[in-house]
Amino acid sequence: MRRQIVGSVVAASLFSVRMMLLAAAVVIERLGGQPAQKERAK
């Protein structure tokens, strides 16, 4: 039971962190940063 609760809390926190980081990444890119991944040379 304890494992279940801690597991859910950790999962929810890490999921939120990821979403925030993702949003931040999109903003950084929009503000003129480099794209996350350079397109492969043709």
């Binding site: 494992r3 801690v6 999962a11 890490l14 990821r18 980081l21 990444a25 940063g33 480099q34």
Partner: protein, 319 residues
Amino acid sequence: MSFPPYRLLDRDHIAKTQAKFERLERLYHVGQQKAWDGKQVLADLLKKHGGIRIPDAKRIAIGEVFSVILWGELAAWSIACDLALMLEEPGAKMAATSQAHDEARHFYVMRDYLLELGGKIPPLDGYTATVLNDLLDTRRLSDKLLGMQLIVETTALTLFRAVAQARVEPVLSDLMPYYERDEARHVGLGVLYLPTVLKGADRLETARLRLFQLKLITMIGWGTHLKQRYFKDLGIDHAEAMRYGNRMVQEAFEGMRSSEGGQPRAVLASSAMMQRINEKAMEVFFPSQEAPQPAWQRAVVGFCGQLARVGDVALRMAA
């Protein structure tokens, strides 16, 4: 429910259900045909390649990544046995029974390989331990089928493919196609039977199942962060592997859509928007190791690695 279920002998019942579950039954027969002798295969591969000869860094990395697989196979074995008990339809029961037979082989071959590899095999990380314990502990058929067959099996398949392609170590890389072939059938059980199991799910159950999948996927993602270093040591390209895994999940969804009843709403479907978010996330968090990354992205990835370690400690303490 009372035993025996006499309808299983009833001609009308059989005629009615046979067409529907024929493909499930086939998984069992194919499993029997394609069953391989694990002892023999491993011995032959060891002989062919003159044993396992790799630098220490790679040995450690293999131990880190494949301790996950070893315990994953053991869990899959037990969960396949759970499924074989829980499923009532003979075709599905046969497929699960065949899977249990496969997973037993996967476990002992991996154990023997790791013993041959030598060195210290680390304990299971907190993320994988949480995922596997969740799937072992749950008494819900839908959770087991969805979590194991669709999420864990596709993750394992992705890893097996990556290890084979990266030629990580000749014996291990040659072993992987044997595993891959079997695991593809196990995904098949989920694809073919989930629509039947999830048909009656109401809105609450649908929401619960989606949340459950989100938890599993989150755990697996952070578990990947945790092992990032070792993937790098093995020469496995994250980005490539993730793309492959994603494609496979899409294929499983396609398979379900075309099966009777269509794709169940309880399966975390990839709407166009979800798919875009997903792709963006892979691009940011699991960048290709070949392409140069901007500084901010390196910082993000490094931060995730550190956070992954914090989460790992928390999960281990709770165990």
